[in-house]
Assembly symmetry: D2
Homo-oligomer: 268 residues x 4
C-alpha cells in the first residue's frame, strides 16, 4: 500500500535537529519538503545552503507568509520555545498540523494550544523527547515498577554534561513514583563509608550518574526481586535517534484532531 | 489495609518449585497453608518432612479427599501435567481456585478447563512461566518491535542446558513475529566466514545462545535503529524468581471468575 | 600428564567456605582429603557429619595433634583470623604448606609468617579474596588505568549488604590510585541537582553502589576516552566462585618456598 | 615536567584517519605538525584545505622531497599499504621514526622493515589497530583464558558490515587459542533446534555476531566458571578512539631503536 504524500514545512532548517529533519524527509518516500522557515536566507532555496540536502524548497523568514503561500500538511518546528509557540498557533490557524519538539512551553501555553487545536479540529503534537527508545524506556519502567517496586537508575553521559542526574533520569523517577509507594531501599542499617556512594535519593529509589569522555547518552533502569533482575536500557549514540520519533509523529498527527503532549501518548 | 487471609493447598510440596511455594506462603502474612497433596507421606504433617517449613498442615495422598475435607480458597499445583490436569478439574469442581504452573497441557485440555471454569464461575490460572520478569521481557519486546523492527536476541544459560535456543527465546521471537514483517537483517551481501556466526534465523531476526558454566538463565532482546539501541533484559539467578509470579497469581485468581492462560493476561 | 596427588587437611570443614572446599577436593582427581580440624566432632569422620561429602577423613579438635599424626602436603584454612594465624604457624613448623583465606591478619602477623615461611623454606599463601575473577578485575583495572585515567566504578550487591562502597570497590580504587594522577572528573561546572547523584569521590574518580534484592555481588570498572569505552566486569553468583582460586593456590603453593600475600601474586 | 616537542609529518591528511590525526596534533601541546604528504594539493598549506585545522604546514606530493626538506621526528602514515610501505622505508632512511596504521603488509615486508629499522637504529611502529581499548581487550582476554578456559565472544556492529565474525573477534579467538586447550563447550548432548544458535565454533569456543542499525563497533569476551562470570568489553563509538593509540605510539617511538609490530608490544 502506497502511503499518501505528506507535504512538510520545516522551521529551523539549519539547526542540528532541523538539518536531521531535512535528511529524514529526503530519505522518506512519502514525505515532501515544501518550504522552510528560517531567521535568515529568505528567498533562497534549501539547496543554496551549505550542508543541506538538494531540495528546491523555498526559505521564508516570515512564518505567516509561508503558511499563506504554501500548501502544506505538517509543520515540523525544531526552533526555540518562544518561536515554536508562535509557529504552532499560526500553523493550527492555517489548518497545518504542527509537530513541535520542546520541553519549554508553560502549562498555560500548552492549555491554550490544546484549546485552539480542539476548536479547529487540527491535530498537533508537542514532544519533549523524540527518541522513541527513551520514551519506551520510561513507559516500560513505569509499568514494571508495579510488579518490581525496588529499582535503581544508572544514567551515563559524556563528561561535558553539566547537570546530574539527567532530565530523563528525573522524569523516569517521577513516572515510577506514580505507581510506587515511597520506601527506603537497601538494608535499614546501611552505611555510606564514602558519602554519595548510594547515589541520589528519590522516595527511597536511587539514581546514579556516570560521566565519562567518549560516552553519549545512556540509561538503564534496574529492578531487583528475589532471584531475579529486570532491566530496561536505552543507548543514544547520536541525534539520528530522534528522527524515528519525528517520522512517527508526522504520520500520526495526520490522523489526529486534537493535541497530544508527549510521544508516549501517540504510541499504541 | 489488611488483606483477607487466603487459605492455600499446595500439590507437590517436596518438589523444587513446591518447596519454594511453601516458603512463599510461610513469609506472606495473608497466605495460610491449610493442606498439601503428595504421592506419599499421607497423614503426616508438613513439619514432619525434612527441609520443609514448620507447618501443621496435613498431607493427603488423595486430592479428592483433601478437597472434600479441607476448607480452602486456592490450590497451587506444581506437579507434572497429567496430575496437574486432574487436580485442576477437581479443584474447580470443589469451588477452589487453581493456580497451575505448566506448559504441558494440550489445547484440548485447556479448552475443557476454560469451559469448566466458566460454568462454575471459579477463577483459574495456568502459567507456563511464573517469572514476572521473563513475562514482562516478552511483553515489552513485542511492544517495542512495533517501533523497532530490527532486533536480535541473546540468551545465556549454564552449560548443562541441552537445547539451543531456549524456550523463552523462541517464545519471544514468536511474539515479535506477531507484530513484525519478515525481513532479512544485516547487510544484503553479508558473509559468514565462520558458519553460525550470525546465529539462528527467525524470519530474518537472529537468536544467539551462549552456554557457560556459572551462568543461570539470562536473556536480552536488543533493538537497533539509526543512532540508538534499546534493550530489555532479564536475569534469573534462582528459582525464587518464580515466586513473585505465584504470589501475584494467588492474589489475582481470588477476583477472577474465568480461566486465564499465561501470566501476561493477569498483568495490568 | 598425571599430576601428583596432593594430600590436604581442611580446617573449618563445617563452615560455608570450608564445606565448599571439601566438595572441591572431592571432585578434583589429584586432591585427597586426609584429615579435618574442627572445634568439635573430634574423632568422627567427615562422612558422619550431615551435608558433608562421603569421606573417611578423621576430624581432629587439636591442630597440633592432627599435624603430628597425619601425613599432609597442604592445609586449607577457612576459619577466623585468630585461629587461622595459629594454624598457619603450626602448619609451617610441621612442613605443611598453608593456604589461608582471610583479610584479617595484622601487618605484624603477616611479617612474622613471612619470616617463618622463609626460614623453613615452606611455601604459604594468604588470600583476602579467592575469586580469581575478582582478582583479575582489579589487576586489569589497574593496568588499563595507565592508558585510560578517566574511570568510574559501579558495584552492585544484594540489599542485605551493610557497607557502601563494597570492600572490593575500595580496593580497586586504591589499586588505580597507584597509577593514576588525582584529577576531578566530569565537567568543571558540573552540578548535582540531587545530592549523591555523582557517587562517592576517590581522588576525582567516582564509585556508585547499587543495592537490590536478587543480586549477589557484581562490579564493573568503566573507562572512558574519546570515542571509546572500556569495561572490566565481574559477576559472582555464589561461593563456588572462590573455589577456582583455592584450587589454583593449592597447586601453586606446592612449588613455592616463600609466602605470597594475595592471589594476584601467584597469577602468572 | 614539560615534554620535548615532537615534529610530525602526516601522510594522508585528507583521509578519515588522517584528518583525525591532524586534530590530535592540533590539541596536543608537545606535538607539532611540520608538513603533510598528499597525492594532490602539493605546495598548498593545510589551512587551505576545507575542513582541516588552521596549520601553516606545507603539503608535499613527493615523500622523498618532503623528508629531505623538512626537519621531522616522526612520520604518521595513515594511507594504503603500498604507499605506507614506501613511506616507511623512506622515513627510516631519513632518520624519521614512522608510525604506520595498517594490517596490510606481508610478512616479508614486515621482515625487511624490521631489518632496516635495526640497521639504522631508528624506532618504528606498525599497528593493525590503534584503539588501545581493543588491544587491551585482546590482551586481557588472552591472560584471563589461562584461568578461565570456557569463553564465548559476542561482537556487535552496525548492519552495514559485510563479514561475520569481525576481524577483531577472530584475532581475539586466535590469541585465546595460544593459551587454551581445544575443548568443546556446552553440554555434550547439546542440540541446536535452530541451526546457528550456538554461533561459530573455534576449537570449541563460540563467537556470536550481532548486526543492528545504530550500533558502531562493540565486543565483549565472556568467561564462565563455577559461580562466576568474568567479562572484558570494548565499545568503539567513533574514529576518535584510534587517536589515543596514535598519541601513545608517537611518544613511545621516540624512545625506540627497533621496530614494534602491534600496539600490544608498546604497552607496558
Amino acid at each position: 500500500m502506497t502511503k499518501d504524500t505528506i507535504r512538510i514545512i520545516v522551521a529551523g532548517p539549519r539547526g542540528r535537529m532541523g538539518s536531521e529533519a531535512l535528511q529524514l524527509i529526503d530519505r522518506t518516500a512519502h514525505f515532501e519538503l515544501v518550504a522552510a522557515i528560517d531567521r535568515k536566507n529568505g528567498g533562497k532555496r534549501i539547496s543554496d545552503i551549505d550542508g543541506l540536502p538538494a531540495s528546491d524548497a523555498v526559505i521564508y523568514e516570515d512564518a505567516a507568509v509561508c503558511l499563506d503561500e504554501v500548501q502544506a500538511d505538517v509543520l515540523i518546528d525544531l526552533t526555540i520555545p518562544e518561536t515554536g509557540y508562535k509557529h504552532m498557533r499560526l500553523a493550527i490557524e492555517h489548518g497545518v498540523r504542527p509537530v513541535v519538539g520542546t520541553s519549554g512551553f508553560t502549562e498555560e501555553q500548552v492549555g491554550e494550544l490544546e484549546k485552539l487545536s480542539e476548536e479547529k479540529g487540527i491535530g498537533a503534537i508537542i514532544a519533549p523527547n523524540f527518541a522513541i527508545g527513551a520514551v519506551l524506556m520510561m513507559q516500560f519502567a513505569k509499568q514494571a515498577a508495579k510488579y518490581f517496586p525496588t529499582v535503581e537508575i544508572i544514567e551515563k553521559h559524556h563528561d561535558q554534561k553539566l547537570d546530574a542526574p539527567s532530565g530523563t533520569a528525573v522524569k523516569t523517577a517521577q513516572l515510577i513514583q506514580e505507581v510506587r509507594e515511597p520506601a527506603r531501599q537497601g538494608h535499614p542499617d546501611e552505611k555510606e563509608t564514602m558519602p554519595g556512594a548510594r547515589g541520589a535519593d528519590v522516595d527511597g529509589m536511587r539514581i546514579h550518574s556516570v560521566r565519562l569522555p567518549g560516552l553519549v547518552a545512556h540509561q538503564e533502569v534496574i529492578f531487583g526481586a528475589p532471584g531475579e533482575q529486570f532491566t530496561v536500557k536505552h543507548d543514544s549514540f547520536n541525534r539520528a535517534s530522534f528522527m524515528s520519533g519525528v517520522e512517527l509523529a508526522v504520520d500520526r498527527v495526520m490522523k489526529m484532531e486534537v493535541l497530544a503532549y508527549g510521544l508516549e501518548n501517540i504510541l499504541e
